[in-house]
Symmetry: C2
Subunit: 225 residues, 2 copies
Amino acid sequence: MIRTDDLWKTYVMGDEEIHALRGVSFEIARGEYVAIIGPSGSGKSTLMNMIGCLDTPSKGEYWLNGKLVSQMDDDELAWIRNKEIGFVFQTFNLLPRASALHNVELPLIYNGTPANKRIEMAKKALESVELGHRMSHKPNELSGGQRQRVAIARALVNNPSIILADEPTGNLDSKTSVEIMNLLEKLHERGNTIILVTHEPDIAAHAHRVLTILDGQISKDERIR
Amino acid sequence: MIRTDDLWKTYVMGDEEIHALRGVSFEIARGEYVAIIGPSGSGKSTLMNMIGCLDTPSKGEYWLNGKLVSQMDDDELAWIRNKEIGFVFQTFNLLPRASALHNVELPLIYNGTPANKRIEMAKKALESVELGHRMSHKPNELSGGQRQRVAIARALVNNPSIILADEPTGNLDSKTSVEIMNLLEKLHERGNTIILVTHEPDIAAHAHRVLTILDGQISKDERIR
Ligand SMILES: Nc1ncnc2c1ncn2[C@@H]1O[C@H](COP(=O)(O)OP(=O)(O)OP(=O)(O)O)[C@@H](O)[C@H]1O
Ligand SMILES: Nc1ncnc2c1ncn2[C@@H]1O[C@H](COP(=O)(O)OP(=O)(O)OP(=O)(O)O)[C@@H](O)[C@H]1O
Ligand SMILES: [Mg+2]
Ligand SMILES: [Mg+2]
């Protein structure tokens, strides 16, 4: 379902070139649960942005569900991003002036879900991350971990088939981390494809397969369950 | 050096009152190394903002170096915040349009350090967090862990006597986390007072004393070394 072939991403800074990805090739089948680990600056978030169709490679190809992403038209890309992929960003990317509820509603607004259904689904998603009591708070009225949970709720509200989570538990205490990992576990059992970036080996251990990235390249690809 | 007496912080949301801190009292002596742990939403960042003179309590008192903070004039507060306290925020709070170098220079600009000295000190601080090769990058041209390290470098550049760090290793891989904790260890040995908020017990274990916060109150205060 996800296949990359020799992906490169190069950032040009003045007269310096930074190769954030240097020829990344792998396949992830429908329903897999993959963790990506690697040092700070190794290219994880860059790779996630490629997979999530949020950024394009400098070189190489990316097939999603058998179609070459670089040749998809805007409507198709938008549809995939909205309907198929739920993204938890490393930096949350919440609308600062909107409530938690409204932030979680956003993907449903984009795909035209009627208002009453939207609000009900958004409330449910917030309850699943234990934020039913903080729905009207704006991001700056929430703790770090609460903001992260709003981002997780937003990623899940559309029941996407592919969940991309970049450091979903980075700001969470151990109890909440366990709850989020259990939530991802349930979603995986239901058939979702899960790709998660983490620095923490205990979090990576929940996945079934671990890709290790080092200086923009996959250095290891290991089945752990 | 730091003494709080019955600190309360209440946020009013419409007709709801949220008591983020509910009577927090403790003393931290000069040169101590304290970790604050507690669940998401328990009040850690709120408490750090009080200690760092960035926010005022709704009730209760805070003495810093024997002076009642609520009765300090603006100049004195600004001096303390600039010269005495280095703050690593949970959300980094970097200037988005300025380079890493410029971000780290900021505290030195505020206290009138001459340009050549500033640049030299800022470079040194960035090298101490292994970002000598990313100095001209802006925050959105840096990885999550790199941004966190810029925030750490900025907090340390002025050699403050008190270091307040809210989740300093949240976005860092294990190797970089170890490096940052070693850096904090060195600073502690040199006589600095360190107060760090963390969710991770292994990080808290580096401290000499652990305060546990639960629902806005200190539930435990334990010397561990
Ligand atoms: N500006 C605000 N307005 C309203 N409520 C707030 C505001 N800031 C924080 N809160 C609430 O106060 C409580 C404590 O927040 P705080 O940020 O101190 O928690 P924390 O312990 O740092 O959590 P985390 O581990 O998730 O970072 C939370 O329930 C939060 O929703
Ligand atoms: N927009 C950009 N312009 C220039 N360089 C960039 C840009 N974005 C990322 N980089 C660089 O590319 C490299 C990879 O960044 P990336 O964010 O993918 O790392 P990461 O593995 O997610 O790191 P972390 O674990 O710290 O989040 C880093 O060295 C970073 O400095
Ligand atoms: Mg990243
Ligand atoms: Mg916090």
